[in-house]
């Protein structure tokens, strides 16, 4: 069972040097723990991800894509050809040209499941996977499923294997020229705006209550607290619940008047 790790050309947050994003190095550790793993990179050159060979991969497949072009078609075409049972990616990029949507776009193109924020992974029998997903604040959820899956790695996953120069030197980078029509797909247009910190929802601090209450108010409710658990709801009922929740916390405006 070969798994594929999607590799991107990241940048060091301080020095700006081209580095392998830490999340992808963590993904390599998770993937190599299961068995054979191959790296996959679509970009102008493979030097940017060659460090992955020192972190535990022995082979990287590089699909040349012009600088600035959308790597998703090339990646999904290559992945469709490789047909791996497991694809791992970082949950976000690190300083390169990215929007953080590549794993989602690839999963959509391949028509496979995407499980985000994985911290551990185990293979069951007959193509089954058991994935530990982190829900924040230490909460975990185990997801068991069957069939090919794309998972993104959370920073809480095991730390990356240290870089080993000797291994990096022995690793192989295979350049596979992809389908030129796929590679020339236009980059989806996007709008650039200056970063603005999202406003934090602050509830009224419960004065006079216990310290634990004030802490809970300041940090937000625990992930497991509150809410209603619906098991296999009807899509309409589920949508109504979500809308109601979003209105309750003030994300959506209250319902407009009934149209005349």
């Amino acid at each position: 069972m070969t798994s594929v790790v999607l590799l991107s050309a990241g940048r060091h947050p301080v020095s700006g040097a081209t580095v392998l994003p830490r999340l992808e190095a963590q993904a390599i550790r998770v993937a190599t723990g299961l068995g054979e793993a191959v790296g996959l990179h679509a970009g102008p050159d493979a030097d940017a991800v060659a460090d992955a060979l020192g972190h535990g991969l022995s082979r990287i497949v590089h699909v040349p894509v012009p600088a600035g072009a959308d790597p998703v078609p090339a990646l999904s075409a290559r992945l469709a050809a490789m047909a791996p049972g497991l694809i791992l990616a970082g949950r976000r990029g690190q300083g390169g040209d990215e929007t953080g949507t590549v794993p989602y776009a690839v999963a959509e193109a391949l028509g496979c499941l995407l499980i985000p924020d994985i911290v551990a992974l185990a293979a069951g029998d007959a193509g089954a996977w058991s994935l530990d997903q982190t829900l924040g604040r230490g909460a975990r959820r185990r997801v068991t499923l069957r069939g090919p899956v794309l998972a993104t790695i959370h920073p809480d996953a095991p730390t990356p294997l240290p870089f080993a120069y000797g291994q990096a030197r022995r690793g192989v980078i295979e350049t596979v020229v992809g389908d030129p029509t796929a590679a020339s797909a236009p980059v989806p247009a996007f709008e650039e705006r200056p970063y603005r910190r999202r406003p934090k929802l602050v509830k009224g601090a419960p004065s006079g209550s216990s310290a634990a209450d004030r802490l809970r108010a300041a940090t937000g409710e625990a992930a497991s607290g509150g809410g209603r658990l619906l098991v296999r709801p009807e899509p309409d009922a589920a949508a109504r619940e979500i809308l109601a929740h979003l209105r309750r916390i003030g994300v959506l405006a209250p319902p407009a008047r009934e149209p005349r």
Partner: protein, 632 residues
């Protein structure tokens, strides 16, 4: 029964037989050394210099223990003299001469006296740092050979008619052949291997009076990087480990051993010896602290490092590379080179760095600083001091290399003091600012030679772009890298430690310090300045020049104890029973001095981190600035 004539032949014959047996034993041992990698050895030069290396360099180390020195002179001198004289008696005119045999008997007598001195270190109770095992029978063999030889010689001098003669000859034979046999596995191996080691020493520069302490660059294109098995070491290194006489001086000097970390340099060398030969007798000295038993396969191709192998990785990562063991070793063994060779394989080939060392080494590789801090923030300590950048000017007399300490708030104070002193003296200096990357010292000591070489090349290129006369630095680790290790990467500049530079300024009258009387100070030598570069006098002269009362610690100068901050030990952080800086501060407290003078950012950080510290830690530059301000 042996007649007089035949005894005069048989006795020298015994010595020849001993020599032959010893030669056979050395040859058997040499087949093991041949398993090592090839090494360039200047044989003729080494042979010509052997007497000097032995009588001067080795003696200099041995003589630190006066008893051992006298004991060795008597027993080794007597043994050699007696054996050679006896061997020469094979010539009939000598063999028949009674005065000659009296002379031989005298030589054997000296040997016997020496043997008793050897025995006194082991019986009734053994000096703790010595190994027992086969070493315990050494005095017995020596006494047997010496007494037997003496009586036989006297019998020959008296005409040989003595009834005791055959008995004495048998005793001499038992002792002598036993000694010769011990050349392969036992204590006498140190004599044969030690002599050869002095001839084929991997660092001949050590004997030329200069500190040959730079790590040798690793060929990163080699098929295997570093050493994982005995056969990965060069043959003359394998030979050097065989020279170990298990005297335990290294273990007494080792800071990690004193702190109860799982490192004992003697045991490490003996594990390298035992790893090479499956037939090696069991180790009989002090174990690694923590009491780990030796395990794992042996042989030239057996893995040396691993939780289940002879050397536990924690042993390897406990070393502070302080070179105290090398400094104390009378056999001139290079322990630190062995540690670094093994670390190189662990790091480069296996990626098996200690967990806490991964982040600093990764940041060094990716950002050029172990803390991953912005390079332009290096000069933040000098806010308000207007530090000139060398990029903004054509040239400078002095390039001030700031080093990693500049990011540290505490050491920033020292550097501010240094900058103010340079201003005061009107020195034309500049810094590299954001162009300065870490020297890579940490990466190199932790075995990451690839990152070190990368940083060294980048820094060498940066230095080549600017014009300056010399480099001054307050960091002995940077000093050692720049002065001794960068020339291999094309950067050859005069590098001066800030204490030496400040002393020069004081002596030239460019700084006029006042005196700081009524204060007692003890100076802690940084390993990378004192042992690696032999500089111990400049900081002391500065302290004396400002009128401080200087008290020396029991271990000072080239024999000072490490603060625990070198070799990546603080980031490897192998647990022990005590902490090295605590031990060092306790030694400083023994002097009663209220101030510990330091001259290195690592020492400053390590010693300041000691809890319940009674003495204050001040850099020499800070004390000098105080004196200069007092003198205005």
């Amino acid at each position: 029964m042996a007649g007089p004539v035949s005894l005069a032949t048989v006795f020298p014959g015994l010595v020849w037989a001993m020599a032959a047996l010893a030669l056979v034993q050395v040859a058997r041992r040499a087949t093991l050394w041949r398993a090592g990698a090839t090494a360039p050895v200047a044989w003729l030069d080494g042979l010509a210099k052997l007497p000097r290396r032995y009588l001067v360099d080795v003696h200099h180390v041995v003589a630190r223990d006066a008893y051992a020195s006298r004991m060795h002179a008597v027993v080794a001198g007597g043994l050699l003299a007696a054996s050679v004289l006896t061997a020469l008696a094979i010539l009939p005119p000598l063999g028949g001469s009674a005065p000659y045999w009296i002379l031989v008997a005298l030589a054997f007598g000296v040997t016997a006296a020496g043997s008793l001195l050897v025995g006194a270190r082991r019986y009734p109770r053994r000096t703790p740092r010595l190994s027992s095992g086969r070493f315990q029978i050494l005095p017995v063999l020596l006494v047997a050979y010496a007494l037997g030889g003496a009586v036989t010689s006297l019998a020959l001098a008296a005409g040989g008619g003595c009834l005791l003669a055959p008995l004495a000859l048998a005793l001499a034979a038992a002792g002598g052949l036993g000694l010769a046999f011990e050349v392969r596995h036992g204590p006498m191996r140190h004599a044969a291997a030690g002599a050869l080691h002095l001839v084929a020493h991997p660092r001949p520069g050590r004997f030329e009076g200069r500190p040959d302490t730079a790590l040798q660059p690793l060929d990163l294109a080699a098929p295997r990087l570093g050493a994982a098995i005995p056969a990965d070491f060069t043959w003359n290194r394998l030979l050097s480990y065989d020279a170990c006489v298990s005297c335990g001086r290294c273990e007494s000097a080792c800071p990690a051993f004193a702190a109860g970390q799982p490192l004992n340099p003697k045991r490490l060398i003996q594990d390298l010896v035992a790893g090479l030969s499956p037939a090696e007798p069991a180790y009989a000295g002090t174990p690694y602290p923590g009491g780990r038993e030796a395990a794992g396969a042996r042989g030239p191709l057996a893995r040396l490092i691993g939780p289940d192998a002879r050397i536990h990785p924690d042993t390897l990562w406990s070393c502070t590379t302080c070179r105290a063991c090398v400094e104390e070793c009378p056999m001139m063994i290079e322990h630190v080179d062995a540690v670094v060779a093994l670390r190189r394989h662990e790091t480069l080939e296996r990626g098996a760095l200690p967990e806490k060392a991964v982040a600093p080494v990764t940041e060094l590789r990716q950002a050029g600083d172990p803390g991953g801090r912005p390079l332009r923030a290096r000069t933040d300590f000098a806010a308000g001091l207007d530090l000139p950048l060398i990029a903004d000017r054509e040239s400078a007399d002095v390039l001030l290399w700031l080093g990693e300490g500049a990011y540290d708030l505490r050491y920033g104070r020292t550097l501010r003091a240094l900058v103010r002193l340079l201003r005061e003296a009107g020195v034309d200096f500049a810094v590299l600012g954001p162009e300065e990357r870490d020297t890579g010292d940490l990466a190199r000591r932790l075995g990451d030679e690839a990152t070190f070489q990368d940083l060294a090349r980048t820094n060498a290129a940066t230095l080549a772009r600017h014009r300056f006369r010399r480099i001054v630095t307050a960091d002995p680790h940077a000093l050692h890298a720049l002065r001794n290790e960068y020339p291999a990467f094309g950067a050859c500049y005069p590098v001066v430690h800030h204490t030496a530079f400040l002393l020069e300024l004081v002596r030239d009258g460019r700084l006029n310090p006042g005196r700081l009387p009524d204060r007692a100070v003890t100076y802690h030598d940084p390993c990378y300045l004192a042992r690696y570069n032999g500089e111990t006098e400049a900081p002391r002269a500065l302290l004396d020049a400002i009128g401080l009362t200087r008290i020396e610690m029991a271990r000072s100068g080239r024999r000072a104890m490490c603060c625990g901050g070198g070799g990546g030990a603080p980031v490897s952080d192998v647990p022990g029973e005590r902490r090295i800086p605590d031990l060092r501060m306790a030694q400083a407290a023994e002097t009663g001095a209220g101030t510990v003078a330091v001259a290195c950012p690592s020492c400053t950080a390590m010693l300041e981190g000691v809890t319940d510290r009674r003495a204050e830690i001040r850099d020499v530059a800070e004390l000098l600035l105080e004196a200069v301000e007092a003198g205005r």
